[in-house]
């Protein structure tokens, strides 16, 4: 490129303004797109269904109205919402415990011990981790159905506990940041493999255990497909499947089924907020961890 400063300077000024305008517009449109629905959702329970239709969409109604929505929501089918929330907590926390108990030792062993079949196990783990989890949902349903395990808490907790991404995160963590000399020294001092794991590896693994716990909890709390298939009864639903039930009872979406019920748009919006609250709180407080987890797939140095 020949160096030709004068005409360039003339050209840059309008083109620079144009690109600033384009950039500003892009960022602003995205901002509205991402944030507006969240704000609308947070405001909706404070209004009546009528106010939502007629008032300014971003207006705030009243706190009393939130209380009404709350009462209507929790009296739906004799407190079904509470049951669903409790079920969600049981499923998500139960599988979280099993996930940690299985994935942390497995990731450790894959990274720091040698045994026959290790590479195969690692390869299968990688493939199942990258495959969308939904691919296995219907096959798992068919399997559970075959062994008549449908409709039990275990039919959700056990499949949720299988978490190859967790194993991979632990594996990467130990493979990259575990001081090998430390392990070698402890072995020479006569430490058994079990003691090595409990006394040396586990205390060092706290950050990655937190990360695995976070991803496992969020994923399982938000999961809809598997419980939708394997849990037929309303008193076994987690909140995500419960939301679907509420939706089909909301008159504005389902005038026939919803006739005479108190579940209207503000109640449904409140239910959504309650359903996402645990995950939202975790999100706000662990942004950093999340990002490092998303990058963990490939930032191995």
């Amino acid at each position: 490129m020949t160096w030709n400063p004068a005409p360039m300077r003339l050209r840059t000024t309008p083109s620079r303004t144009a690109s600033a305008v384009i950039i500003g517009l892009l960022l602003a449109v995205l901002l509205v797109f991402f944030v507006l629905p969240v704000i609308w959702l947070l405001l909706a329970p404070s209004k009546t269904a009528g106010q939502i239709v007629h008032d300014n969409p971003l207006s705030f109604g009243s706190f009393g109205r939130i209380g009404d929505a709350w009462r209507h929501l929790f009296s739906f089918e004799n407190g079904a919402v509470l049951t669903w929330l409790r079920n969600s907590a049981v499923y998500a926390l139960g599988s979280l415990v099993l996930t940690l108990l299985t994935s942390v030792p497995a990731g450790y062993a894959l990274a720091l011990t040698r045994f026959r079949g290790r590479k195969v196990l690692l390869a299968i783990t990688l493939v199942t981790m990258i495959m969308p989890s939904a691919t296995l949902v219907l096959p798992v349903f068919l399997e559970l159905n075959k062994f008549q395990l449908i409709g039990t808490a275990w039919s959700v907790i056990l499949p949720f506990s299988f978490y190859p991404f967790g194993v991979y995160l632990v594996y990467i963590y130990f493979a990259t940041s575990m001081p090998r000399d430390l392990l070698a020294a402890a072995r020479i001092d006569g430490c058994s493999e079990w003691q090595l794991f409990i006394r040396i590896a586990l205390p060092l693994a706290k950050p990655v255990i937190g990360l695995v716990a976070f991803f496992s909890f969020v994923g399982n709390w938000n999961n809809f497909f598997l419980p939708y298939l394997v849990l037929p009864n309303s008193d076994e639903f987690p909140i995500q499947v419960g939301l679907n039930q509420l939706l089909s009872s909301t008159p504005s979406f389902n005038p026939v089924a919803g006739a005479g019920l108190d579940i209207t748009i503000p109640e449904l919006a409140l239910a959504i907020i309650i359903a996402i609250l645990p995950v939202l709180v975790l999100f706000l407080f662990s942004q950093r961890a999340l990002v490092s987890g998303m990058l963990a797939g490939a930032t191995k140095e």
Binding site: L27, A44, P57, A109, L158, V291
Partner: protein
């Protein structure tokens, strides 16, 4: 970092003989992986095998070759379901790649760090609403009666919820939902990748007379190409599995949306309404193979996942 090297790193395992003891940890490894391996066998390997078994047999357990596959493929709902997904995927992947990369470049190169960090956080928040919640929120956003952007919907000629849910709009709607919950996270990932490009490279481009757009197009984007491929394959694989979104829309629309819009929904209908587990298995085998291909592609064709420590 290996991932941003301009040349792909040779993945051949370095010769390891004599460097490591032959069996570090003895048999303890088996003990540590036992629990996970059990779960992997029971909820990963076995269901896959069982789905294949069902897909190659009939309801009496007799081997039927590829009959189940041809039978479901001839179902009048089969091709439309895969067609819907194809249209959705094309739209979703183009929008995802273009907007995510463009926004990440802008966030990285054109803004003050604090503004950029705030925007990344705000774009990222809807990720917490993944799943059912996001679909419900978008039901409201798309219902001209309650939507805060009803003027926009009406301006586009859609005066009722039914008009919004017309079949031609569905891929756009699912794209919007997927973008809303997923794109913010990917922007953060792309931003991280851009951040790893050494300043000297950008500086050299500037000295050579490249403007910011030229730098983005010729330097930054080629250097994060691998991440773009990674995102595209993962988004493609996940997109083939679409289930929650069309299923909820079907509930909310009183049946105006087809109950077999996506292949996973079709498999669901086979299993739950027709009691045809062999047919359901055949459809899910199609989807499983798609997922396996994507995963295999990423694991063995890219050097993003090293199978072993160096």
């Amino acid at each position: 970092m290996t991932l941003l090297d301009s040349q792909p790193v040779a993945v051949a395992a370095p010769p390891r003989h004599g460097v490591l003891p032959r069996r570090r940890g003895g048999t303890a490894g088996y003990f540590f992986v036992a629990g996970y391996t059990l779960l992997l066998l029971v909820f990963g390997v076995f269901p896959t095998g069982y789905a294949f078994y069902l897909a190659f047999t009939n309801d009496h357990g007799q081997f039927t070759g590829i009959n189940q596959f041809t039978r479901v493929a001839q179902d009048y709902r089969f091709l439309p379901a895969f067609g819907h997904i194809l249209v959705y995927l094309l739209l979703w992947l183009v929008v995802l790649v273009v907007l995510t990369v463009l926004t990440a470049v802008v966030l990285r190169s054109r803004l003050r760090t604090s503004v950029s960090a705030l925007l990344r956080f705000l774009y990222y928040i809807p990720g917490a609403l993944a799943g059912v919640a996001s679909v419900l929120v978008w039901l409201f956003m798309l219902d001209p009666d309650v939507s805060p952007v009803s003027w926009l919907l009406r301006g586009l000629g859609m005066d009722s919820f039914a008009a919004v849910l017309s079949p031609g709009n569905l891929p756009v709607i699912f794209m919007l939902i997927a973008f809303w919950t997923g794109a913010g996270g990917w922007m953060v990932v792309m931003y991280g990748a851009l951040n790893n490009i050494p300043d000297e490279v950008i500086e050299a481009a500037r000295i050579d007379g490249a403007g910011p757009w030229r730098t983005a197009w010729s330097i930054q984007i080629p250097m994060i190409r691998q991440w773009i491929t990674y995102m595209t394959i993962l988004a493609f694989a996940a997109g083939t599995q679409l289930f929650v979104e069309p299923q909820l829309l079907q509930t909310a629309s009183l049946g105006r949306v087809s109950p077999t819009w996506s292949p996973n929904q079709l498999a669901y209908v086979y299993a739950f309404q027709q009691g045809d587990f062999n047919g359901a298995a055949a459809i899910s085998v199609f989807l499983l193979v798609l997922g396996l291909l994507c995963a295999g592609l990423l694991v063995w064709r890219s050097n993003m996942f090293t199978l072993d420590e160096k």
